[in-house]
Amino acid sequence: MTDMVSSPDMPGILEARGYRAALEWIARRAEAFVIPLAALVVGMVLFSLFILAVGRSPVQLYETMWRGGFGSWFSIQNSLSRGAPLLLAALCVALPARLGLVVIGGEGAIVLGGVTAAAIGVVLNGAPSFLVILLMGVGGAAAGGIWIGAVGALRHYRAVNETISSLLMAYIAIALMNHLVEGPLRDPASLNKPSTQPLSDVYRVGNIPGMEVHWGLVVGILACVLSWLLIEKTRWGFAARIAGGNVRAAQVQGLAVGPLIVGFTALAGGFAGLAGMVEVAAVQGSANGSLAAGYGYTGILVAFLARHNPLAIIPVAILLGGIDASGGLIQRRMDLPDATVLVLQGMLFIVVLFSETFYGRFKLFNPDLWQRST
């Protein structure tokens, strides 16, 4: 009898359940998209108020920003080129962050990676180009990896705060680069801007076919995808997430937290070092002061905006690459200082961090609370 009664309704119930399940599925994931996007919008509105306060038109500013960053194929390619190092620099923050570490000295790894790559390219001049480019990449990544790996090791084995030590190491790295570029590695022909000897053309990393964007973009996107796989799909990533949640719990479980921290920070530094190598081999052609262009610091913002999710880093890095790229146009068209972009980035950063307080606050995103409300 019960079968007879319920069976006509079954499809309806299933349908309702399916509908409900789909809604719940969406609701649980929507929070991770809606809150950062809302934070982005709020940050941009606050920045509009700032621009209004200094007597300029925010509409014109955003229009200029759009045109400079994404308005034409030319500017899109420019933004992609600028986003490439940001992808790698952001990984330098995001990977340690999964272990609960705040590493902000990626700039140092970028600079050292670039100098190492340039030195390898000059010393091995004459060797086959494939081999030299490969060694430049490996050398740059190794330099960055050692630098940030040391930060991780100091953190775990000596309890030295990683935020401060990584930034101090960045200043040391920049001083080291200045010393090498102005001293032992200096190209005597570089008068106004001390640089290492220019790489010969066969060792330069070229553009992706059909685009004015260098291969660094592909390297960066690959690095992000691999990092995502590492964190989400491997046992090391799983262990890292446990250790990031609670170090004691991880140790009780018998996880080797020390090697995990050193490994993740070294990998993170390796990516940043690779960014330096790409800057040298694809953009600058030699190592010089331009390596410390602030990619490491913008990378911090990218990583926090992407909430340390390597896949989310890809769109965020390209967006911020576009904002970066539009800085020059804003300066010329609107007669605003080049630091305008920095102010926008700072505001976005603050609003995004502030938005952390809203996670878990809205019933809308938590299906478990729906019943109680209705």
Binding site: Y157, A159, N161, A175, G183, A339, L342, Q345
Partner: protein, 308 residues
């Protein structure tokens, strides 16, 4: 330079003078940070506050002709930055370290934005007292030309050391820093105390910035601070949150920072950039030497996130 006249004696002398000159911003930033950290919160944004303080002090001094008004402007600006940090950290799940990093970027960006027109004009300097007037040797005179802010900073260090131990306010700050629960039980509001402590810390960092642009190096450029604000945070840990320790550590850092220019003045130019890195290397070595994975640091405020 006539530094060669007195031979290698010029190096320690230049380092002494340099230590006094270079250490002053460290003294103010680290004392400010010591107050903030004693209340249980950490403000990494003092680097941005320092740069913004330098800019606002310079701008106001250029416009009004008075370096003292510039100093006032810098401390008010620093107070605002500090209060903002303190306010935003009151919200649950907002990370004080990350907000500090964001404020570092925001403060520098804002300072560069408004500071553009002030790179060219020159502002009046803060006065210095020539303690070396008794000597005929120009190097001695230069080394003992001490800015009033250094003396104020020294006095402030002694005062804070006394005040933390002997005043009601000092006790309140320490209780909030060591245990928010105990503070609540005493009827204190930890958030409010931390808000005010961060505000005062910011104001002191702003004064440190004013010293940079109005005395040494004495002009406003976008490269005016090279991590002094951050080194000061490390320095507070090294000084074990003790204001007198902060003062001594600041002098030590100032001396390290003066090593490069002092060697350059006697003609040593080899490896100039490596000497330039001396304060950072010194900070790092001190941090490594004084940290330990097996025990919490002596004197560390219990509520401080950075030592956990």
């Amino acid at each position: 330079m006539e530094a060669t006249d007195i031979g290698l004696w010029g190096v320690p002398l230049a380092m002494l003078g340099g230590a006094i000159r270079v250490s002053t911003p460290f003294i103010f930033v680290s004392l400010g940070e010591a107050i903030t950290e004693r209340s249980g919160r950490i403000n990494l944004g003092l680097e941005g506050t320092l740069v913004f303080g330098a800019m606002s002090a310079y701008a106001v001094a250029v416009m009004t002709g008075s370096p003292w008004l510039g100093l006032l402007a810098a401390s008010v600006a620093g107070l605002c930055f500090g209060l903002f940090h303190g306010w935003i950290c009151k919200f649950p799940k907002v990370n004080d370290i990350a907000i500090g990093i964001a404020l570092m970027l925001f403060g520098t960006g804002l300072a560069f934005f408004f500071g553009k027109p002030f790179i060219q004009p020159s502002a009046p300097d803060l006065p210095a007292i020539p303690f070396g007037a008794w000597s005929d040797i120009p190097q001695v005179q230069a080394a003992l030309n001490v800015n009033v802010l250094f003396l104020i900073g020294a006095a402030l260090a002694v005062f804070l050391w006394w005040a933390f131990r002997n005043t009601r306010i000092g006790l309140i700050v320490r209780v909030v820093g060591d245990s928010a629960d105990a503070a609540l039980a005493m009827g204190l509001n930890p958030s409010t105390v931390r808000l005010l402590a961060t505000g005062v810390g910011g104001a002191l960092a702003g004064i440190g910035g004013a010293y940079l642009s109005l005395y040494y190096p004495g002009s406003w450029t976008e490269r005016i601070s090279s991590g002094q604000g951050l080194m000061a945070v490390a320095l507070v840990i090294f000084a074990r949150w003790n204001p007198l320790g902060c003062f001594a550590a600041a002098l030590l850092f100032g001396g390290a920072g003066a090593l490069g220019p002092a060697l350059q003045s006697v003609g040593v130019t080899q490896g100039y950039y490596l000497f330039y890195a001396a304060p950072y290397i010194l900070t790092l070595i001190i941090m490594i030497a004084t940290s330990s994975p097996n025990r919490t640091l002596a004197g560390a405020p219990g509520e401080l996130s950075i030592t956990k």
